[in-house]
């Protein structure tokens, strides 16, 4: 298969590398903007769970023209620096992080908060969906601190079993909630983006980061578990049809006539959790089971016997009945 197979399987992965984006997800934000004009009139934007930084790249390119300090990127992980983006390596569940963001905006609130974060999926769907929901709610919680009324919030969602509970939670805070899927996001993926516009917290709501926002539960009237009434927000497909199809497998020689050249990834991961284990594996230093047969070889031989023992030539005891009986 080789290193080119991913370029063929996923045209946006290849285009991202060729255009210098740190991840293919940059196209998703660009296509969301095409549809919703997210960046119109935006001067202060926050990118939550920013690493590796492709959305920050888009933000800085689109609204960073008005001078530095208007795009703040927050992540728990380290991220390679980006021009025009202020980075905070911190936890979005901490009040100090919210204060730091406001401080960077000189006391003003943000116009736009985006979050493209996802947990490392475990493969157990219910756990992954829960973790993704908690990430979104944590992002929403910090957004209630930093977002100006009427502001916009865009976050990744997994459209699984309980996504309607998230919709109902978001509808509490925003006048308009839509589910959007850019064409650069694959059909086979359950990810989509909640585009929430018109931040309008309910009357009497006090933002409080010391308490996590818990997801809603099913109720018997408006959001039923298995009834006809569920809060399913309108779905919008973003990006025009002439764009590349993320599910289609393209040959390496694309039709625009450009010659294919392998491009290495723009930004390799910075200290991933598996780094030490991989280094050890490469050096062959992972612990191995001690098999008995790998133990020092035991010699079981007895002192050498007389070389020729003539007795056996005279006797043929057990061969008799074992011999093939040919006729």
């Amino acid at each position: 298969m080789g290193r080119t197979s991913k370029d063929k399987r996923d045209v946006y992965y290849r285009l991202a590398k060729e255009n210098g984006w740190r991840a293919r997800s940059a196209f998703k934000l660009l296509q969301l903007d095409e549809e919703f004009h997210l960046f119109q009139g935006v001067t202060r934007a926050v990118d939550l769970c920013a690493a590796p930084g492709s959305w920050s790249q888009v933000l800085s390119q689109k609204i960073g023209g008005q001078g530095p300090g208007h795009v703040v990127a927050v992540d728990l992980q380290a991220m390679a620096p980006l021009p025009g983006v202020i980075q905070i390596q911190g936890d979005i569940t901490q009040l100090s992080t919210a204060k730091e963001i406001i401080q960077h905006f000189e006391g003003c609130h943000a116009d736009l908060v985006v979050c493209d974060g996802a947990p490392d999926v475990t493969g157990l769907h219910d756990v992954d969906e829960y973790m993704q929901a908690q990430l979104l709610l944590a992002a929403l919680n910090i957004a209630t601190h930093v977002l100006k009324p009427g502001g916009c919030f865009v976050a990744k969602i997994f459209r699984g079993r309980d996504v309607t509970l998230l919709y109902s939670q978001l509808r509490v805070f925003f006048s308009s909630v839509l589910c959007a899927k850019p064409r650069s996001s694959r059909n086979s993926s359950i990810e989509a983006f909640a585009v929430c516009r018109g931040y309008d917290p309910p009357e009497g709501f006090v933002a409080d980061l010391t308490k996590p926002l818990l997801d809603h539960s099913y109720d018997s009237d408006f959001n039923q578990l298995d009834g006809p009434t569920r809060i399913i927000v309108p779905f919008v497909t973003c990006g025009d049809l002439s764009a590349y199809d993320s599910d289609r497998s393209y040959p390496l020689d694309l039709q625009d006539g450009s010659e294919y050249k392998y491009t290495p990834p723009t930004q390799p991961p910075i200290s991933p959790p598996y780094q030490e284990a991989c280094t050890l594996k490469k050096k062959g230093q992972l612990a191995k089971e001690t098999r008995p047969q790998d133990c020092p070889i035991s010699r079981v031989d007895v002192p050498s016997q007389p070389l020729t023992s003539p007795h056996h030539t005279l006797l043929a005891p057990e061969v008799k009945h074992n011999k093939p009986n040919c006729t």
């Binding site: 769907h125 699984g160 289609r248 992972l286 010699r299 093939p324 040919c326």
Partner: protein, 1121 residues
């Protein structure tokens, strides 16, 4: 409102669930397993056999079980009943199970208590329950009434990835929480000054560089173990955690897993860990690996339980399999490698070859032509003979059969073969066979009647020697029976041989990778079954050339059947006959199942072995009838079991290029090889069987991508087998006729699985797995359903042809035959035969310098398949494939599936095509029209009139002359923009009015339903108008925008008034049709995540419909019509 007003709509109920096993717990001699919302109770004390006793259904509603906590009973033991807290996601349920005197029943069940947050751990505190929740808070809960008694949060309300509760009372309750920041937080909920007042963490422990997935605390030794995303397990010395302020010290950092570690469990003397790499490791508390259990498939081991008294470990996998492993207390006795100490001043020369004659005698030959015997029981070397003609080059092979018949054969570089009776070496017989080197030597044994020795000489001549013994037993006779001629190749010699029962043929493998069939007694008698004179003539080649007059000339018989280069250039390594089939192994990393019919070899299936083992050296049938594969994996010799996917023996021998020998009896297995001038011997007691038990076979290692109903088999009363998994509480009268549905599933794990789903018991049996694909399998289609024996002499069972397709543009066609077999647990046996295969990029594998070129090919994936049955007799069906490179391709199957060729294609969609569906339009007094509907990622549907295309394309339906240039499909006869994005499901149904109902479901959660009208040209007008094609148009069109919250991946129109849809949002919804817009009827929440496909079929009027949903697991629903 109308007549349908009081119509009873169907409602689906779950019948069978096969999901990842996410919870396991040993309770006394019982094992609890959580699968979805159900608890399976196994009995572990059933005379060494493990048996499922009962299924407690639907404890957790739509949640999945993640764990069990059994209430400790200080006064009573757990042998008669147990109170079990079952939890998962946000749900908690208490169930009391009675199991005294092997009578299993559910005694009591609490309500399903919903928490506000995820439950990470549960602990019984006297009568109440403590729960550790998702955002670092602890609840004290009354599980009987279902009310919260206390709620204490931590000051740090971060999201947790795991938690562990310690202590037996609320006062001493200790929380160890694994935070998203990779830290461990230790805190004490009882320290709260008031209810709801946050408690600050007592200690924060850092160490892991990834989140912590599992924790285990061993109070007796004061140890805590943690498993993490960083692929390591840490052992911490914590002392008594219930005492605040204690010191936490990391005493072990164990790297052994090659992926994330999901589960960890501390036992008194061991530490057990299991992870995403599907390996369960047994560590000492000092961090040494003592044992490794491998065998689960797919994405890891999710659950772990241990039975300390019995030294058992039970693991549950993502593949929904459950396995039981034995902890070795002090290693396997008698296991190991020993050097046999050949080197000695009294034994000059260096060893050249080694062989095993039976299980207790080993033979070795040196470069000075001396043959030695080593008795494994007496443990001493003894020289049998020395012959200077056999110096420097000498082959050595012991005869097969019990104790090798006491015979071995040697061959040298001068064409001489020596057959040696081991007990009487002086009676050895020499035969000068060839003018040059003997390249290879092998034996063939038929029962106890016929023993042949085959020797390959120069230019492909293979001599067949018949060995017989004098009645006295003191002499042997060697006579040359005949000579065979091998096909031309550079290295022209055979490598292995065996008799094909009953004994008319010999099957041989050669160095060129071909498998050959020779008559075992050529010319002696003409077997009428071979096919008469013509084939007997063909079998004779060179012998016939030497005119009949010269009767002394030795005839050289060519093979009557050849499978050329079956195993590739590296050669065939073994041939074995077992249970009516011939199995061949080769150095291409595969083994083939073949059969001989009418004097011809037919390949049945190619099977792959374990990953990385490219040198398959042999196949061995163990006493219990199952097979094991011998092979070389890098520098290791491996005995691998295809049944359990387990490496039974691993010997670091240095690789397969040395001389080696293997023998296996019920008592012991032996493997001998040469290394460092000595003979090494590996012996293992118990042979190639393992005490490990597969409690339940796994299904697929990865997501199921497609599920299809093939048909149903009715088992007669004599074939009915009592099903082990039959629940106790099933009423005896509810057993209907033995109707079993046959369903096929395919998966990203590259396999296709044939399942039997009996309608009566709600169980599932995997009949067989086909693993010919090199990449994921995404779609399947079925055609040619029939009964074994054909339409004229039907026999019970069913037969069907299946096309499967998936990644790497690969397509396979095979036949399955399911027939009753009372010896199997399901009462059914499935035989598979591979018919044909096709790959679009096949040309690439034939390119010479491909490692230096960049492959520009788009690596097409097939997304969906549809069989289009033609109405011309004898012309095999067309298979339409939706391709990821934007094409719809049509393949022509001929000769009942044995020929598969690309026929036509179109790039109309220019986007990834997701679905294809074929249907026919039949109207009275008109010809049958065949239509194909295709749908792509842009939400458009295209309808193709295949009948017209086929009429124009080729009257004879011959494949295009050049395989690379298929016919063009032209333009579609209708297109329709049904959705805004990808179409994930598609179905049609003819209506009574002669129209067609078409329904599609999309990624955006919408449904689109319309009535399609086909206007066919009047036959009278067709006289002078060649361009008469049917016209399609839409009559009624409806769209349901937010029908589901995610992709609609399954859709079936059951009747003109009822439709069922399934989506990734885990709802199975019924829709009412025919009265304007489709209206919601009801919906059921199911447990399979990421559902990729759904199939439903009517079973019987009394039973209603069955519906199978495939995704991350498999679930079967039924409903009454």
């Amino acid at each position: 409102m109308d007549a349908l007003g009081d119509y009873v709509w169907p409602r689906a109920t779950s019948e069978l669930i096969l999901l990842p096993v996410t919870g396991l717990e040993c309770v006394g001699d019982r094992l609890l397993a959580g699968e979805g919302p159900d608890v399976l109770v196994y009995s572990l004390d059933f005379g060494g056999h493990l048996r499922m006793m009962m299924r407690v259904q639907n404890l957790l509603g739509h949640y999945l079980i993640h764990g069990f906590r059994v209430r400790p009973e200080p006064s009573r033991d757990l042998n008669s009943e147990a109170m079990v807290a079952v939890f998962g996601s946000k749900g908690l349920c208490i169930v009391k199970i009675g199991w005294g005197q092997s009578h299993y029943r559910e005694l009591w069940r609490s309500g399903l208590w919903n928490m506000s947050d995820w439950i990470w751990d549960v602990r019984w505190l006297e009568g109440n329950i403590a729960l550790a929740l998702g955002h670092n808070s602890v609840l004290l809960y009354d599980p009987v009434v279902g009310c919260m008694l206390q709620d204490v949060p931590c000051t740090d309300r971060c999201t947790l990835s795991s938690a562990c509760l310690i202590g037996d009372t609320w006062k001493e309750l200790t929380v160890v929480a694994g935070a998203i920041s990779n830290q461990l937080l230790v805190w004490y909920p009882a320290a709260a000054l008031a209810d709801g007042k946050p408690v600050a963490p007592d200690r924060r422990v850092s160490g892991h560089v990834g989140v912590i997935f599992s924790m285990s605390y061993l109070a007796s030794k004061g140890l805590l173990a943690t498993a993490s995303e960083d692929r390591s397990v840490r052992i911490w010395k914590v002392g008594d955690l219930r005492v605040p302020g204690g010191r936490v010290q990391n005493i072990g950092h164990c790297f052994g897993h090659s992926a994330r570690v999901w589960q960890v469990k501390l036992l008194e003397n061991y530490l057990i860990s299991a992870g995403e790499d599907c390996v369960c490791l047994v560590w000492s508390h000092e961090g040494e690996i003592l044992q490794a259990f491998r065998g689960h498939q797919g994405r890891g081991i999710r659950a772990l339980a241990a039975h300390e008294r019995q030294a058992w470990v039970v693991t549950g996998g993502d593949d929904s399999g459950i396995r039981l492993w034995h902890l070795a207390r002090c290693g396997y006795p008698g296991l190991g490698v020993s050097a046999l100490g050949f080197k000695s001043p009294s034994r000059p020369g260096t060893l050249k070859a080694v062989t095993l004659a039976g299980s207790w005698r080993l033979l070795a030959v040196t470069d000075i032509g001396a043959l030695y015997l080593y008795d494994l029981e007496v443990k001493c070397w003894e020289q049998l003979l020395e012959d200077k003609h056999f110096r420097s080059y000498c082959l050595l092979e012991a005869a097969p059969g019990p104790e090798g018949f006491g015979l071995c054969a040697m061959a040298n570089g001068e064409g001489c073969v020596k057959v040696v009776p081991i007990n009487t070496p002086a009676a050895a017989v020499d035969c000068a066979l060839f003018p040059g080197k003997v390249h290879s030597l092998s034996w063939a044994l038929r029962g106890f009647e016929e023993l042949l020795l085959l020797a390959s000489g120069p230019s492909g001549v293979m001599a067949c020697l018949e060995i017989s013994a004098a009645p006295s037993g003191k002499a042997i006779f060697v006579t040359e029976r005949c000579r065979y001629l091998l096909p031309l190749s550079k290295q022209r010699w055979h490598t292995c041989s065996a008799f094909v029962p009953p004994g008319d043929f010999l099957v041989c493998g050669d160095r060129r990778g071909s498998v050959l069939l020779f008559p075992s007694r050529p010319g002696v008698h003409k077997d009428p079954r071979i096919g008469g004179e013509a084939e007997a003539e063909a079998g004779m080649l060179r012998g016939g050339g030497d005119t009949d007059g010269d009767s002394n000339a030795v005839a050289e018989w060519s093979p009557v059947s050849t499978l050329h280069s079956l195993h590739g250039k590296q050669g065939v390594t073994s041939v074995t006959c077992h249970a009516g089939y011939v199995y061949s192994t080769g150095r291409d990393g595969a083994y083939y199942q073949l059969f001989v019919r009418g004097g011809q070899l037919h390949p049945v299936l190619r099977q792959k072995t374990c990953r990385g083992m490219n040198w398959v050296a042999g196949l061995h049938v163990v006493p219990d009838g199952s097979m094991v594969i011998l092979g070389f994996h890098a520098n290791e010799f491996v005995v691998w079991s295809p049944r359990s996917h387990e490496k039974l023996h691993v010997v670091s021998c240095g690789g397969g290029h040395r001389s080696w020998a293997f023998s296996d009896t019920e008592a012991a297995m032996a493997f001998a090889y040469l290394k460092d001038g000595d003979v090494m011997l590996y012996q293992a007691l118990g042979g190639c069987t393992r005490p490990h038990v597969i409690l339940r076979e796994g299904l697929h290692g990865r997501e199921i991508t497609c599920v299809k109903h093939v048909g149903a088999v009715t088992l007669g009363p004599d074939c009915e087998v009592p099903c082990l998994e039959q629940p106790d509480y099933l009423e005896p009268g509810s057993e209907g006729p033995g109707l079993t549905d046959i369903v096929i599933t395919c998966s990203e794990d590259t396999t296709v699985c044939v399942l039997a789903l009996p309608t009566t018991t709600g169980s599932a049996h995997a009949l067989t797995a086909v693993c010919n694909h090199i990449s994921s399998v995404r779609a399947m289609a079925v055609w040619g359903l029939g009964t074994p024996g054909g339409p004229h002499s039907p026999q019970p069972g069913l037969t069907a042809n299946i096309v499967s397709a998936g990644g790497r543009a690969e397509m396979h066609c095979f036949n399955i035959t399911v027939s009753p077999d009372p010896s199997t647990p399901s009462g059914l046996a499935c035989h598979t035969m591979h018919l044909s295969s096709h790959r679009l990029d096949e040309y690439w594998d034939r390119q010479r310098n491909r490692h230096r070129m960049v492959k520009m090919d788009p690596e097409t994936r097939y997304m969906s398949l549809a069989v289009c049955e033609l109405d011309r007799p004898g012309v095999g069906p067309l298979v339409a494939a939706a391709c990821s490179d934007g094409a719809v391709r049509l393949f022509l199957l001929q000769d009942s599936g044995r020929i598969l060729q690309l026929f036509a294609e179109t790039f109309h969609h220019e986007r990834c095509v997701l679905k294809v569906h074929s249907f026919t339009h039949e109207a009275p007094n008109q010809r049958r029209w065949l239509f194909l509907c295709s749908a792509a990622t842009d939400g458009s549907l295209a309808f193709w009139d295949l009948t017209t295309v086929l009429d124009r394309g080729s009257a004879l339906l011959e494949p295009p002359a050049e395989p690379g240039l298929p016919y063009r499909l032209g333009t579609p006869c209708m297109t329709l923009q049904a959705h805004s994005c990808g179409v994930n499901s598609l179905h049609t149904l003819p209506t009574r009015e002669g129209h067609h109902l078409v329904a599609s479901g999309s990624e955006d959660g919408s449904l689109h339903v319309f009535v399609l009208v086909v206007e066919t040209p009047e036959p009278e007008e067709a006289v002078d108008e060649p361009e008469l094609v049917p016209q399609l148009h839409v009559l009624e069109e409806y769209s349901v925008p937010c029908a589901h919250a995610a992709h609609v991946t399954g859709l079936k129109i059951l009747s003109p008034s009822l439709m069922v849809s399934a989506s990734i949002d885990q709802r199975l919804t019924f829709w009412r049709l025919g009265h304007g817009e489709p209206t919601f009827v009801n919906s059921t929440v199911y447990h399979v995540a990421d559902v990729a496909d759904m199939d439903c079929w009517p079973v019987s009027p009394a039973f209603g419909h069955r519906c199978a949903l495939g995704g991350q697991g498999l679930e079967v629903y039924n409903w009454y019509d």
